[in-house]
């Protein structure tokens, strides 16, 4: 190296460079210092320590780097530290939320919570009716949304052309942006027409959720069908295969894992919906598994109503709300993780 450089040890390493641990060391030092000063002033808190720690670390790394590496590297250092801190800041809510839900939800979780309903119980009971409601409402929504969504995606990728295709693409975008409460109002308005004012049914909630779920299913199915290579369709056509069999026997099986994953993620997105169900399925305290008769309630609405209208023992109600939240978050996480695993494990390798 020194042979190339006219000034041995000069051009490449002039001004020097900070050690690798510099950003971490500076941050830890700054945080320790602010903790000590805050403790001395008698107003120690983790939040304040982090705030002052980051500010102090930014100043320190800038000064140090400027002295050793020059002003341009110094700006780079301080911006990098700021961006990393911002990322950490954005992760705090996630960490806090998961921790709090686990901490506050675990005490309320018990076998009774899952197996008992709240019928005739003044204060207490379980969420079995809400679990049943979640399954039925989400299940019916899935039954409505998946065939329509996947067939529409097939239309877009395999058939569509011209005006209808462009209209569908545009309106699926519109549909993606419908606020969930508006979807609920739509389902209410639709059913009120047939059943009169004040109607509340499980299936109304399913219709509302379908409005939210269909565009998600279409988008993910469309993406996955698009990556099925065209040469596979052509190979089937060249064997004298009709188009519909090419789609059902070649395209769909090739895309199968992706389609399943997309549907599972769509279910995860709607299973925790609250607002559209408040205006369509209402609240109830006993098990009802018939979506076409009477009120129903899902876990999210259960958590909300335990919070909004607590029993005599407020703390116990809140505990049940958190237990429902924990159950819900566990279902959503499991759906997401299993969906990703399904895709990784079973996706068709296409070369």
């Amino acid at each position: 190296m020194s042979a190339i450089s006219p000034h041995p040890g000069g051009a490449l390493v002039s001004g020097g460079i900070l050690p690798k641990w510099a950003p971490y060391g500076v941050f830890l030092g700054a945080a320790a210092l602010s903790a000590a000063v805050l403790a001395a002033a008698g107003s120690f808190s983790i939040g304040l320590t982090l705030v002052f720690g980051v500010l102090l670390a930014c100043v320190a790394i800038y000064s140090w780097s400027r002295a050793v590496e020059g002003p341009r590297r110094a700006v780079d250092r301080v911006v990098t530290m700021a961006i990393a801190s911002a990322f950490a800041l954005a992760m705090i809510p996630l960490a806090s939320l998961l921790f709090e839900v686990a901490k506050r939800g675990l005490p309320g979780l018990s076998l009774e919570f899952i197996t008992d309903d709240a019928r005739g119980v003044i204060n207490g009971g379980g969420a079995a009716h809400a679990l049943v409601g979640t399954l039925v409402i989400t299940g019916v929504a899935t039954i409505i949304s998946v065939p329509i969504g996947i067939m529409a995606a097939i239309y877009l990728t395999e058939y569509g052309g011209g005006k209808l295709r462009r209209a569908l693409t545009f309106f699926v975008d519109v549909m993606t942006g419908i606020p969930s409460i508006v979807a609920g109002l739509f389902a209410y308005a639709l059913f009120e027409l047939f059943f009169g004012p004040g109607i509340r049914l499980g299936v109304m909630g399913s219709v509302a959720l379908s409005v939210l779920m269909i565009p998600i299913v279409i988008r993910s199915a469309e993406e996955i069908l698009k990556i099925v290579p065209n040469h596979l369709r052509e190979a089937a056509y060249a064997l004298g295969t009709p188009k519909w069999k090419t789609i059902t026997k070649i395209v769909l099986p090739t895309a199968f894992a992706g389609l399943v994953t997309g549907v599972m993620i769509a279910i995860a997105r709607i299973i925790g919906e609250t607002a559209p169900l408040l205006v369509t399925t209402g609240v109830i305290d006993s098990i009802n598994s018939d979506p076409f008769e009477g009120r129903m309630q899902n876990l999210a609405v259960y958590a909300y109503s335990e919070y909004r209208s607590p029993g005599v023992d407020k703390a116990a109600s809140y505990e049940r709300a958190w237990a429902a939240a924990l159950l819900l978050i566990a279902i959503v996480m499991i759906l997401n993780i299993v969906a990703r695993m399904v895709y990784r494990r079973y996706k068709t390798e296409i070369r």
Partner: protein, 297 residues
């Protein structure tokens, strides 16, 4: 050059002998009589013009694809030879906006006549593609049987086994895969995959095989194996093959059609067609001579 060709021919002979032997041992008579008896069909194209929307891709081609012969379509990139090939089994029209003018007949029957089902045309005129494309969800066995399954041909399992074996033998692949028929088609090497695709195409017993640069994704050894196979298949099928590789056209084909493009943006045209030997040694057109001697393209 001559020495290499001789060696190749002897390889073909010994290869086919071996196939014939094993065939008689396992399935007496079945394979032996199938090749000889077949009299394949003729495709005739008259004044064919092909378009992609407003773009005129191929102009006024009149060409006969003779039975039990290999016809090579050669020419520089973009001259329309693949487009023309795809019009011979109505694959061209699958591209949105693509249209066909003129007449293409299979043994005198117009395959573009109204009332003709393009699906039926493709049953009779099979196709092998540039890159091997076995169905990724299917095993080796199911890939070969896919044509039968997809066409809802109701046949017994034993019969299906027979077709699969015959097709794989016909594609010189049986000995390499007979112990792992349930493995995915994609587990094979590139050259094996392409032979699998040829077996898949022949399993539905088409009359004509179209091949679109079937060796362009393969290494030289695999290429030679496919060329040998093409030489064997012509006893049963009419074969048209698009190739960029002039040695391949010279080695593997009986007839050669040269397509050319006067300038980009203009449609491709058929310059001349004739016995492969004539085209390569004594072409009538200057453009053909320039191309086959490597002065152009």
């Amino acid at each position: 050059m001559l020495g290499a060709a001789d060696k190749k021919r002897s390889a073909v002979e010994s290869g086919s002998e071996k196939v014939a032997e094993t065939a008689t041992a396992t399935a007496p008579g079945d394979l032996a009589q199938a090749p000889m008896a077949a009299k394949a069909k003729t495709i005739e194209a008259r004044n064919v013009n092909l378009y992609y929307g407003a773009f005129h891709a191929v102009e006024n081609v009149t060409l006969t694809i003779a039975p039990n012969k290999v016809t090579a379509l050669i020419g520089s990139s973009g001259c329309g030879k693949t487009t023309f090939l795809r019009s011979l089994n109505r694959m061209h029209e699958l591209t949105p906006g693509a249209t066909v003018e003129g007449e293409i007949t299979l043994d005198g029957e117009d395959m573009y006549a109204s009332g003709v089902d393009p699906v039926r045309v493709r049953r009779l005129v099979g196709m092998v593609f540039q890159a091997p494309n076995p169905f990724p969800t299917m095993s080796i066995y199911d890939n070969v049987a896919s044509g039968l399954n997809l066409n809802a041909t109701r046949i017994k399992k034993a019969q299906k086994d027979e077709v699969v074996e015959r097709s794989l033998r016909g594609a010189n692949l049986w000995d390499e895969v007979k112990d792992r028929l349930d493995k995915p088609g994609l587990s094979l090497s590139g050259g094996q995959q392409q032979r699998l695709c040829i077996a898949r195409a022949t399993a539905v017993e088409p009359e004509v095989l179209l091949m679109d640069e079937p060796c362009s994704a393969l290494d030289p050894v695999a290429t030679l194996a496919i060329e040998d196979l093409i030489g064997e298949l012509k006893s049963r099928y009419t074969i048209a093959i698009v190739t960029h590789n002039m040695q391949q056209a010279a080695r593997a084909s009986d007839l050669t059609a040269f397509f050319n493009l006067e300038e980009s943006g203009k449609p491709g045209r058929l310059v001349e067609v004739g016995e492969t030997e004539t085209i390569f040694t004594n072409p009538t057109q200057k453009a053909t001579e320039d191309y086959v001697t490597g002065r152009f393209g």
